[in-house]
């Protein structure tokens, strides 16, 4: 079993890393401090093909695989977690979804510009009363001739403000519970669709997290993805891929924190020696490295299975859970290694810590991931 990267994947990684170091990292502190969407960076990433990494070239994508995708998310997130999540949502939760469940017309019309990075997408499942309980949606889709009319509120939607395309999950009949959920493509600018509010967040402040309002919003029937009632399945299959992306994002954040800690520990002198000479610090660094490597390997495993077309719900949940908890632990310890300086915004580790927290929450909380995994174990 070869755990190394192929020369092609190495070349790909080197390009993304080079781009991340030169274009993404220098802007990261300002993106966070100003809560500013990194529009220029996202545009460059689109031109390079990073907004549709694993989508085939015929649909505007870069023709890569999931391993390349997780490599890219990790490298970008290491530089800037906000840019990482913007990229991950567009790739996994929008492009991949349309690629798997859209018909040819929908792929030509929506997927191509999204994969090329000419347009940005968002994934609208969560509602104020439906977070973990995502089957219990209240946003309704009422059939009216050759349209569906959407009514209701979505919240915590990443890319909500900037997105051109929204994948909206709505129920045609609340009585059917999750079997009533359908997925629709809604274009920004459709009357009755507006951004109600953008949240002020602890971390990933460069990505917008929004509350979206649908009020008598008429969506053409032809924008239905898959079948009526297939929406929940579509969401769950997409989340399998999305969780792999978030796992890679968390690995990137953790890695940034570890690298910063290594550099700091080598340079900071106390009691006449660099603190890297003290076992307490060395033990922390070793533990940080193990958790990151383990999380990365779980992420690669899930990605590899997804590339092979093998169902990977359990593996992607394990990757996401492991990576997000590793990121939280590693970034907390990184601040500890930095001591007082870790608490100060001049230094990057407090931002990594704030960015890491959300990875334990979105795309399925750690609690939900544990339920998924246990569910698979218990059969």
């Amino acid at each position: 079993m070869d755990l190394g990267l192929s020369p092609r994947q190495e070349m790909f990684r080197d390009m993304v890393r080079d781009f991340a170091e030169k274009e993404v990292a220098p802007r990261a502190a300002a993106v966070d401090a100003e809560a500013r969407f990194p529009a220029q960076t996202i545009r460059m990433m689109g031109e390079l093909g990073l907004m549709g990494v694993a989508i085939p070239e015929e649909y505007g994508g870069a023709g890569g695989d999931m391993i390349c995708y997780v490599i890219a998310i990790e490298e970008i997130s290491r530089a800037c977690a906000s840019t990482g999540v913007i990229m991950s949502i567009n790739n996994s939760m929008v492009c991949d979804l349309i690629h798997k469940f859209g018909d040819e017309r929908q792929k030509r019309r929506f997927l191509i510009p999204l994969a090329r990075g000419e347009q940005l997408g968002c994934f609208c499942l969560s509602e104020p009363d439906a977070g973990s309980d995502s089957g219990n949606l209240r946003v309704t889709a009422t059939a009216e001739g050759d349209h569906f009319v959407l009514n209701g509120v979505k919240n915590f939607i990443t890319n909500g403000r900037e997105a051109d395309i929204a994948i909206v999950f709505a129920t045609v009949d609340r009585q059917l519970k999750h079997k009533g959920i359908s997925a629709l493509v809604v274009e920004k600018g459709t009357p009755g669709f507006q951004v109600l509010k953008e949240e002020n967040k602890l971390g990933i402040r460069g990505s917008s997290t929004c509350q979206l309002l649908f009020e008598q919003c008429r969506v053409p029937r032809e924008n239905l993805l898959g079948e009526i009632g297939e929406g929940f399945r579509i969401a769950m299959v997409s989340l399998d891929g999305g969780r792999i992306g978030i796992a890679a994002q968390a690995v990137g954040i953790a890695r940034a924190a570890l690298e910063a800690s290594l550099q700091y520990a080598r340079g900071r002198v106390q009691f006449g020696r660099p603190i890297a000479a003290f076992q307490a610090i060395q033990f922390l660094l070793a533990d940080m490295a193990i958790r990151i490597d383990a999380a990365r390997l779980l992420t690669y495993r899930a990605a590899s299975l997804r590339d092979g077309g093998v169902p990977c719900t359990r593996e992607s949940s394990m990757a996401k859970l492991s990576a997000s908890e590793a990121a939280m632990w590693v970034t907390t310890k990184a601040i500890q290694i930095y001591g007082g300086y870790g608490y100060i915004t001049d230094y990057p580790v407090e931002r990594h810590f704030r960015d890491a927290k959300v990875t334990e929450i979105y795309e399925g909380t750690s609690e939900i991931q544990r339920l998924v995994i246990a569910g698979h174990l218990l059969g």
Binding site: S6, P7, R8, E10, M11, F12, D14, M15, D18, F19, M44, E47, L48, G49, L50, V53, E57, G61, A62, G63, G64, C68, Q263, R266
Partner: protein, 265 residues
């Protein structure tokens, strides 16, 4: 226009000094698994070639004389937009100096067919001798202009902006020419697109030995060197930076005091 770009693969020159180690037996930097990159000015040279090709049409070939690992540097060149690539690699070349390398590169370029332009980086990111380019021009018997920031080509005449101490000069010449390239706002190397990386990874790149190219054995390798590195030393630089504390006004006051102590002002 046909352009050949010579690239060298080196250990990433931007690694922090704390990770820099010397291998005393070879009198070179110890590779230590550090990432290998295309020498930065060679990338500028490649970018110049690609932009010229976009402007006036033609082909760009990228060539390297070095270790087998240099294949990945050539692949990146293809991914950036070069049309063909070739590696010159042979144990007989080990230990060659600039004259030996230039002899091998000259043969390789002759095998590709002498182009309109041969481009090299103005200096390599590791050794920075600035010799291979000009010597290669001599070996190919073509004129050479060094430290060029920009090139324009029209109607068979090339115009080059050569950077000098006080400013720049504009030189003209007819192809074939060899230019050594300096970085400039007009030649910031592009990032290869993902789909081009995928395509380039599937291309096969020929490797030519010294024998394949008909390089004279007496011109290459350790036996032919004209100068020798006797020793590589690390200059001792013990510098602990003193940071000024407080608000800007306080920082400035303290700084001035320290500068006066050091007689810097």
């Amino acid at each position: 226009m046909r352009i050949v770009v010579c690239v060298k693969q080196i250990i990433d020159p931007e690694l922090p000094a704390s990770q820099f180690r010397i291998d005393a037996s070879s009198n070179r930097q110890r590779p230590n698994g550090h990432p290998l990159v295309i020498s930065p000015y060679d990338e500028n040279a490649l970018e110049v070639a690609l932009r010229l090709k976009e402007k006036v049409g033609g082909t760009v070939a990228v060539v390297s004389a070095g270790e087998p690992s240099a294949i990945s540097a050539l692949r990146k060149g293809l991914a950036m937009g070069a049309d063909e690539a070739a590696l010159i690699s042979d144990p007989a070349l080990d230990g060659s100096d600039a004259f030996g390398l230039a002899a091998a590169l000259a043969r390789g370029i002759q095998k590709l067919g002498i182009p309109d332009l041969v481009l090299c980086g103005c200096e390599s990111g590791d050794w920075a001798d600035r010799t291979v380019g000009p010597i290669l021009a001599e070996a190919l018997n073509i004129p050479c202009v060094s430290f060029v920031a920009q090139v324009d080509g029209e109607d068979g005449r090339l115009r080059m902006r050569r950077v000098v101490e006080e400013g720049y000069e504009v030189w003209e010449g007819a192809p074939p020419l060899l230019l050594t390239i300096l970085s400039h706002e007009s030649n910031i190397p592009r990032y290869p697109k993902v789909k081009d990386i995928m395509t380039a990874s599937r291309r096969s790149i020929p490797t030519w030995s010294a024998a394949d190219l008909g390089v004279e054995a007496g011109d290459i390798g350790k036996a032919a060197i004209r100068t020798e590195v006797q020793q590589l030393t690390l200059p001792s630089r013990e510098s602990r930076c003193e940071l000024m504390d407080g608000e800007p006004a306080q920082q400035v006051t303290t700084l001035i005091t320290k500068l006066r102590e050091r007689k810097a002002i």
